[in-house]
């Protein structure tokens, strides 16, 4: 597929909001999310020769972005390790993450990284378990069960509108 910067940006236009929202939930602060999306875009652009079909652009970009997020989170963890001496003093501040202004992000913060990926791809990518399995190299059954657990955990923080046993669902 022939693809220049304009063409790439055109395809990108259709997905960038969801990419950013996904990154925001993964990275936990707007600056990191912005950086992750930029990096993913550049990687995608540089490897655009391996994208053979336009309609695969979205899943392809999500795959790249999820890897970039993983890599950046791991790097951040290594960096944090240096500061661990301060950690005992900060132990009381373990709730830092909960100060975030968005309920959705708060709910994401309770998930493991893998669960964040799975739920993030469901919410922002709109993917089903089979497609998520392909992106994350997991079995679709595994994706399904992990997603159910993750959503159950999130429901503690972010009450589903339908929670409370409303009759119409039964």
């Amino acid at each position: 597929m022939k693809c220049d910067a304009a063409k790439f940006a055109g395809m990108y236009e259709g997905v960038y909001k969801d990419l950013y929202r996904f990154a925001l939930c993964m990275m936990r602060n707007p600056q990191d999310a912005e950086d992750a999306v930029s990096e993913a875009v550049i990687q995608g652009y540089e490897h655009r020769a391996s994208l053979r079909r336009e309609d695969a652009f979205k899943s392809w970009m999500f795959t790249i972005l999820s890897r970039v997020c993983k890599k950046r989170l791991a790097a951040a963890a290594k960096k944090n390790e240096m500061n661990e001496a301060e950690f005992f003093e900060r132990a009381e501040g373990a709730e830092d993450r909960l100060e975030m202004n968005m309920d959705v992000r708060r709910a994401f913060a309770v998930l493991s990284e893998e669960e964040q990926m799975i739920v993030g791809l469901s919410v922002f990518g709109g993917y089903q378990s089979g497609e998520i399995g392909q992106i994350l190299k997991l079995k679709s059954g595994t994706v399904r069960s992990k997603r159910s657990r993750a959503l159950a955990k999130m429901s503690v923080i972010l009450k589903p509108c339908s929670a409370g046993g409303q009759a119409e669902y039964y």
Binding site: A5, A6, F8, A9, G10, E13, Y16, L24, S38, V41, I42, Q43, H47, A49, S50, R52, R53, A56, S59, W60, T63, R67, K70, L73, A74, A75, A77, E81, E84, F87, F88, A94, E95, M102, S112, V119, V123, F124, Q128, G130, E131, G133, T142, S145, R147, S148, L151, A152, K153, M154, S155, V156, K159, P160, C161, S162, A163, G164, G165, Y169
Partner: protein
Amino acid sequence: MNKKEQEFIDQMKQESEAVNVPKSLEPKEIEELLKSRPEKFVWKRAYIAAAAACCLLVCGIVYGTTRESAYGTNVEVGSRAGADGEPVFRGSGLSTAKSYDDVYKYLEARMNEMNARSSAGGAVIEEYAIDDSADMGMVTSSSGAEAEGQAVQEAKTMDAAVPDTASSDYSETNVRQEGVDEADVVKTDGRYLYTLRDNGRAVAVTDTKEGLAAVSEIELEDSYTIQEFYVNGGKLVLAGSTWQEEKTKEGWYRSISNTFAITYDLSDPEKPEKLGEVMQSGDYQSSRMAGGHVYLFSQYYVYDNGAVTAKDTDAYIPMINQGLLPEGDIYMPVTKNAYMYEVISSIDMEKPDEAKDSKAVFTDGGELYVSGQNIYWYEDRSWYTGDTVIRRISYQDGELKAEASGMVGGYIHDSFCIDEHKGYLRVITTEGDTNSVYVLDEELKTIGSIEGLAEDERVYSARLLGDTGYFVTYRETDPLFSVDFSDPEKPEIIGELKIPGFSEYLHFYGGDLLLGIGMDVDEDGFTTNGVKLSMFDIRDNTDVKEVQKYVLKNVYSADVMYDYRAALIDVEKNIIGFSADGGNGERYYVFSYDADNGFECLMDEAVNGNGYQTVRGVYIDTILYVVKGNIIEAYSMEDYKKIDDIIL
């Protein structure tokens, strides 16, 4: 996904619509950014050889002598038809490759089919394969672990090689199968604590004799990532993967992952000495240690984009310590979709620099359960064909031999759900909208089954012991089923207990009790109230009762629900320890159990450390050590007050 889950996902999507995307990410800005970048091409990590197709005729085997493939008795297995009516279980699952060309032809056929599907507009997601340092950098402890099962935990008898000042009363890793050790991120020998550092490159050794003192560290090079390790028989074995990028003679790059097992002598834990190293192709998946041997499992993906030629054997045949695996040791696939190998090697701890035996199963992925005698390797094909293929590979004294293969309907939730007993294999599966129980004989032929259980629910956890099995399915309530396996040909559901919530992990607690750790769920079947401990009385297995329960409110997840190795459960000491996440952050809990008073919370303390490793609790004598990556905290088990800590 059920309706409520879908609604919840839609709700989250809606609530985040308002997020403002930074200006720098708007398409116009991005276009300018991309235009300003210099042209640069990096190729897929797939081995791209330019003059691909021309070489097809030159597909001789560039390997020396052909080993006789005397493995397996080639039990024939019935085949189910695929969607297109074509049998998808091809062969017995036990036949080995006759030549590397067999493997090559298979890969070539698969690639042709994929290309055909792709150009026909099929839903093939483009393969993206660059910068896999991302994969290597992230060493979550989730890999492989969640798929394991039944755990047995007992105080270890003192090992001859352990320093004489060591205690004989200490905890061991909670394992799936008694007598089969598993690697973990924290171990003790009764005196020293061995802990995997957050960076995944080193194991720190801490002496506990007089308070906590860091005494040594075993560190590997940058390209190595340690996933977990063993401390057993006076030796330490590190297991994990390496990653490197290689420039081919054509000038392309390809990245190579290898799995390692590196063994050290622990005669002096303050000066561990390296004894040997074994490498095999692929990413580390899991390992076991039994009978003086380590069994190493890796997953080796073949990135064939149609340009690898038959003679590029090192691009599609697994390597063991620099040598190609002989074709007679490669089991051919039972599906059309194989694109990777499960590589299995045994390593004699007396000769830790060589693989005693190696086999590879050519496949599209699977999980493993290791009993006292056999490796059961199972491939979930439920996505395509609704079934799971199981292979039995015996492993006595490090000799690997595929003995049988068979098939069950549905998928296996985790290795709790597959269990060998008296030569029979009992399997609990979720099959479409229902659940099933199967009993297979030594040839892995199904001889007994119950199908159509618990419609619209799926298996969450299981536990089998002797002739009785228990499993939990869930949708809105938690039916705990009891199965009688005493007649293998006629397994029978003998009890069903319905309670709200579900158990994700089951552990026998003495002879008459079964402990469940899971979630308490509202009657709406969706809102969770917190982590729940349940104690089931199983004296009468036809009438199981939940006799006590305890809900940790505002606590939404416990590691043990994902990885049984995170549990510290000792029935004799009457302790149930685990870490859990909640509104108050990550905390370590210890409970005791009493028939009259139920669960008593002995400890509820914040876990310090913010690294990537999951929390483990281990005890030596009367001191509990809570470890998270580089931080160790010590608590007295008399009153569970903190007495010491160390930052490594």
